[in-house]
């Protein structure tokens, strides 16, 4: 096998590699833009907490279906994710805790609960699948679900674009002029949840958030314009999917971690080479805020 053939042959030869490729491209496209907004809103932690919150929901779906069922676990995950989003919103409104802090306190509870539920019924293998995903075992229905979620996500995002961006920059203004700011915020959290659920089958609950945050962090280093930033974030995610799968194939490594680590490599590379990266940090002020 020549070097060049190695770049496409695994996908031409194996159906599971093709499906994995489509899955990671789909995930990158959906999660990338959402991740950018999540970071710009300084809600990175919330994405992380949300991905943990999905776990007990998915685990209950696992129990109800009596095994690894995408539909049951997906629905359970969406329900749990939205439940936690609502609950955290409520808590931060009632108490003086910031939203970040209230999310963080649900974080480990959810993880523990999810692991408890899965391990009560399933095998250790099941637990591993739920936690870390099985991107090489994606089947047709799972692909349809991911594609559906990505389509919905991209459409919703463009549909509520302006109010959502205004809500991010200046929440008070939205509250004033339409009193609908909370609605757009909820739609946004919904987008976060469904994208995490989409990534869940492929990358597992713990790593699907990586596809959302790492490409976004990379894109932020290269541009200060919002739309190019989102496009770049999606592109990085998709390319990392392809590259990660190739690396995992040729070096016989686990596929999910390879994809996320490729994202990380892109981030590291950007951090070193981009004008906004560590080179920009050499300024004279000792009080840099980032």
């Amino acid at each position: 096998m020549s070097m060049l053939a190695g770049l496409w042959e695994p996908f031409a030869t194996f159906g599971f590699m093709r499906r994995a490729l489509v899955a990671s491209i789909t995930l990158g496209m959906g999660a990338g833009p959402v991740g950018v907004l999540l970071q710009l809103r300084r809600m990175s932690l919330i994405g992380d907490a949300m991905s943990h919150a999905i776990l007990p929901g998915a685990a209950i779906g696992f129990l109800a279906a009596g095994g690894l069922s995408l539909t049951a676990m997906g629905l359970g995950g969406i329900a749990a994710g939205l439940g936690v989003a609502l609950l955290a919103g409520l808590v931060s409104r009632r108490t003086h805790l910031a939203e970040d802090a209230s999310f963080a306190s649900f974080y480990l509870t959810s993880l523990a609960l999810g692991v408890l539920i899965v391990s009560a019924r399933g095998s250790n293998i099941d637990l591993l699948h739920v936690l870390f995903g099985t991107i090489l075992a994606i089947d047709g229905p799972a692909l349809y679900l991911m594609a559906g979620i990505t389509t919905l996500s991209v459409c919703l995002l463009s549909f509520i674009w302006r109010p959502l961006v205004m809500e991010c920059v200046d929440p008070g203004f939205m509250r004033m002029t339409g009193s609908r700011g909370a609605l757009y915020h909820m739609v946004f959290l919904f987008l976060v949840v469904i994208n995490l659920v989409a990534g869940f089958e492929a990358l597992g609950t713990l790593m699907s958030v990586g596809m959302m945050m790492v490409p976004a962090a990379t894109a932020r280093l290269w541009t200060r314009r919002l739309v190019p930033m989102m496009a770049l974030s999606a592109t990085v995610g998709m390319l990392a999917g392809y590259t990660g799968l190739l690396v995992s194939y040729h070096f016989r490594l686990a596929a999910g971690p390879c994809i996320i680590l490729t994202c990380s490599a892109a981030y590291l590379f950007s951090l070193i080479t981009s004008p906004a990266g560590i080179r920009a940090g050499g300024g004279s002020s000792p009080f840099r805020s980032h």
Binding site: L40, R162, V169, P171, F173, M176, G178, R224
Partner: protein, 243 residues
């Protein structure tokens, strides 16, 4: 343009057990231009927020005469705006008209033209393509006025809009406020500059000792009422008679 009047009827606000102001009765007529004055902590910002329904009333009521939330344009005193957010000056102004821009946020030619006009009106046409974090504080305030211009609100509430602005900027923006007034919009502005109030605002609400003194500016702003409102006899340079 003129919707109903905003009326306060024996209204009172209590924050965390401490009364801010009580028994406030009065109304902002449609198309009127009213200044709100009073010492720091007198409850000026609270009054604006009570009208917007952000602060609950302990007593009495506030009627909005059929005005809806989107009829209000509000410039808060301390605003949480993420100045680091990567958005251009033009997009920020377009955000003021997102109701008109509609699905997919595609702004029509007409809306874009209005945004460009709004930026021109506040003297920011050269900065239109910049990101918002590349504006000075005064330029940013101009930007917020331009966005207010886009909302086409019939009631405009400004909480200390000219604080920390230089004289030319203040004059420009004050002229804009007067233009809004001339178009028949209702203006309610919290101000500290008595000269400004006397020269531009026919009506005033002076918050003083937990009460509101409400009426024509010349009648309300007397050395006596000002002294009582600010309660600092040695430091009331503007109390020395009408300008």
């Amino acid at each position: 343009m003129s919707h109903g009047a905003i009326g306060l009827d024996d209204a009172g606000v209590t924050l965390h057990g401490t009364p801010v102001w009580q028994h406030v009765t009065g109304s902002f007529a449609p198309g009127s231009m009213t200044a709100i004055a009073g010492a720091n902590g007198a409850g000026k910002s609270t009054l604006l927020r009570a009208i917007l329904g952000e602060v609950p009333l302990a007593t009495g009521r506030i009627t909005l005469g059929g005005l809806r939330a989107q009829d209000f344009g509000y410039l808060p005193q301390a605003r949480i705006i993420d100045r680091a957010f990567p958005i251009s000056v033009t997009d920020m102004v377009l955000g003021g008209a997102w109701r008109q821009t509609g699905a997919f946020g595609a702004a029509s030619r007409a809306v874009r033209q209005r945004a460009a006009d709004a930026l021109c009106r506040v003297g920011l046409e050269k900065q239109a393509g910049r990101m918002i974090d590349a504006l000075s504080a005064g330029q940013f305030q101009r930007l917020l006025f331009a966005r207010l211009l886009m909302t086409d609100a019939s009631v405009i509430m400004l909480d200390e809009p000219f604080t920390a602005l230089d004289a030319p900027t203040t004059q420009d923006l004050l002229a804009l406020v007067r233009e809004w007034h001339a178009q028949g919009r209702t203006i309610i502005a919290v101000l500290h500059d008595m000269h400004q109030i006397r020269t531009c605002f026919p009506h005033v609400v002076l918050l003083s000792g937990g009460q509101a003194i409400w009426g024509e500016t010349a009648r309300i702003l007397t050395p006596g009422t000002l002294q009582r409102a600010y309660d600092t006899p040695q430091a009331t340079p503007w109390a020395g008679g009408p300008a």
